[in-house]
């Protein structure tokens, strides 16, 4: 029961069924009671009529047949009476061979009494005193037709209730769906957020959703802020460390040091390793990866700039080509991907004779990025060595592998794979697989 729709549906239907049943039961009971009271009055009247029909005749007290209603004469008509004298009883002709049980108390007998021919009878006893005798007059009336009509009405109302229930459920479904529409919109937007197609959620129209969306947006802003602040701080740190390093490099180049070449070389070597360590660690520290859902790399927007930058840096007659499907976006932080592609393309440009090509396609839930050059390439047995060289900084050979080191960091950060192959252009191909579906 994980959907609000289902929860509301089950809750509503349960509640409606219980209320419906209770209400129906109560109303039938009230109706029944009302009817019985009515019949009680009627039976009391009948008893009084019977009393009035008792006349003193030639053989003592007798019943004036003229005053009796016809239904007492027709057998099993549904209306019966018994007049009880101390010594004798008179039964109505309609009771035929049926003996009406005599109630012990006055008034309407609680419950129904089994009558002839599966009839159920309301029985009323009235006590009188006439002609010096205590007389009990018991009248009974068949209640079955009313019970039958009750049953019929029960079925009809149950049917109406069911139909009303189904209608209600349908209406409720529709209303809930309409009410949850903004929630669905937010869900879609969050999915887009994850795919890097948007950077913020739209403000919803629903008051209940506003705090949630505001909180999410606040969180996004906060993450973005934190990231840019930490990047700035790292940039400042880099600046603070690298400017003195630049001065030291310049000092190490002073001709005064030429008299001590050993000292100068040591000096330079240590400076070099400091520089590489700083670059690598700062580069690694500023990786964003999946922190920012709104940040993405728009191929058609970024690749031309990157290519022209490389062209400007290398200043050779290099043909730099890029290919990506129109509108393709890589769902990772723009600066991370720029760093990844920039370093790999820079390497390719360094070694290429004339051509460098970058190609990005989406295949089987992976972004496949290939960077080809027509340079000398790397022998297959050496490729593994080149890839691992940047992996552990302390084993790193001076001045090499730094670019690949940060490339490896980024690829690992994006849970991707990096491989070196032979390019169809003749040189080296760097192949990167980045999983398109984030976990």
């Amino acid at each position: 029961m994980n959907s609000i729709q289902q929860r509301l549906g089950i809750g509503l239907v349960g509640l409606l069924i219980i209320t419906g049943l209770v209400l129906a039961q109560i109303s039938f009971w009230l109706l029944d009671q009302g009817l019985r009271r009515y019949w009680q009055t009627h039976l009391h009247h009948e008893a009084e009529t019977l009393l009035a029909a008792l006349v003193r005749g030639a053989n003592g007290v007798e019943l004036d047949q003229q005053r009796l209603s016809a239904s007492y004469k027709r057998p099993y008509s549904g209306a019966y009476f018994v007049v009880v004298f101390p010594e004798q009883q008179w039964r109505s002709r309609s009771s035929w061979d049926y003996h009406l049980p005599l109630p012990k108390t006055r008034g309407l007998h609680a419950g129904l009494v089994d009558g002839p021919e599966a009839e159920e009878l309301l029985v009323y006893r009235a006590d009188f005193r006439r002609y010096g005798n205590n007389i009990q007059i018991i009248t009974a009336q068949d209640y079955t037709p009313i019970l039958q009509s009750f049953h019929r009405w029960q079925w009809i109302s149950a049917g109406i209730g069911m139909i009303a229930l189904i209608l209600l459920v349908l209406v409720q479904r529709y209303l809930v769906q309409r009410a949850l529409l903004p929630l669905e919109k937010v869900r879609v937007q969050i999915a887009q957020l994850q795919q890097g197609q948007r950077s913020l959620l739209d403000q919803p129209t629903l008051d209940e959703l506003k705090p949630l969306v505001e909180q999410i947006n606040h969180l996004l802003h906060h993450t973005e802020d934190t990231l840019s602040r930490s990047r700035n701080a790292l940039g400042n740190l880099g600046h603070a460390l690298k400017t003195p390093l630049a001065i030291l490099f310049s000092l190490a180049n002073r001709h005064e040091l030429n008299a001590h070449p050993e000292l100068r070389d040591q000096f330079r070597q240590q400076l070099q390793s400091m520089q590489e360590r700083i670059s690598r660690e700062l580069g690694r520290a500023r990786l964003a990866g999946e922190v920012l859902p709104g940040a993405y790399f728009d191929c058609a927007k970024e690749l031309p700039d990157l290519c022209s930058t490389l062209q400007q840096i290398h200043q050779r007659n290099l043909q730099l080509e890029w290919r990506a499907e129109p509108g393709m976006r890589l769902p990772w932080d723009r600066e991370d991907i720029l760093e990844l592609l920039g370093n790999l393309l820079d390497n390719a440009c360094k070694w290429a004779h004339q051509k460098v090509a970058i190609n990005i396609v989406l295949e089987h839930a992976h972004y496949v990025i290939t960077i080809d050059d027509d340079g000398p390439g790397i022998a297959p047995e050496l490729r593994e060595q080149v890839l691992t060289r940047g992996a552990r900084l302390d084993e790193q050979i001076q001045g090499h592998g730094l670019g690949l080191g940060i490339v490896r960091d980024i690829v690992e950060h994006c849970r991707g794979k990096l491989a070196l192959e032979t390019s169809p252009l003749g040189g080296l191909r760097a192949l990167i697989l980045l999983p398109a579906i984030r976990t």
Partner: protein
């Protein structure tokens, strides 16, 4: 060649100035971005070294404003921020090259040489070829028919300027503007003296005097 260094770190600026002076460039130094914005646009620099993080105004802002006013002087950005995103931003703002700190002084020299040659429409060669001469910038000497001729610092920078402008008439004012920094006393006689020294070392016909206009390095 006159170079403007815009760098707020005094120690680095001192080192750069010393290095570049040794390499025969006239160097001006500014630390504040607002000063650089004005001076870079007014003075006839051959190249500007621009730090990105500057007090007053950021390097990229200055560069954008210069480029918006059609200022074409080549600009080499110096920055500690070595990320591609920043590199792209710098080059989009109108930088001609990008060098990240820390750098080797040789690297900077090579970049400056390459940039100056590119501005003057020359292919990137290790030496400047003009007027039948080869100028070795690293050793500050000239090779004429496989004969090495040593030059003084002043002669070297004068000859380099003329060689980069091979075949063009260069006025004395222009030479004064581009060979000396803002603090040097301008004296036209100095230029004439150095021209005469160069003629004595390299032959009389090499540099032509155009009366009332200036000098011209013969195109070979």
């Amino acid at each position: 060649m006159r170079i403007l260094i815009v760098e707020d770190n005094v120690a680095l600026a001192d080192e750069l100035t010393a290095d570049l002076k040794r390499a025969g460039y006239a160097v001006d130094w500014l630390a504040d971005g607002r000063d650089a914005l004005i001076q870079g646009a007014v003075e006839p620099y051959d190249l500007i070294l621009l730090d990105v993080g500057l007090p007053g105004k950021s390097g990229l802002e200055i560069l954008r404003e210069w480029r918006a006013t059609q200022m074409h002087c080549p600009v080499l950005i110096l920055t500690a921020r070595d990320h591609w995103a920043e590199r792209i931003e710098g080059l989009k703002a109108g930088a001609d090259d990008y060098l990240t700190k820390p750098f080797h002084p040789e690297e900077l020299q090579l970049r400056i040489q390459a940039l100056l040659r590119r501005v003057h429409g020359r292919v990137n060669q290790p030496q400047i070829h003009a007027g039948g001469l080869q100028l070795d910038e690293a050793r500050q000497c000239v090779v004429n028919d496989s004969e090495h001729i040593e030059l003084t610092a002043a002669e070297f920078s004068l000859l380099r300027y003329l060689m980069l402008h091979e075949g063009k008439i260069i006025s004395k004012t222009q030479l004064n503007d581009h060979l000396y920094n803002g603090e040097t006393e301008r004296d036209s006689n100095v230029i004439e003296v150095h021209i005469n020294h160069l003629r004595r070392k390299l032959g009389k016909d090499l540099i032509e005097t155009k009366r009332g206009q200036g000098y011209r390095l013969q195109k070979n």
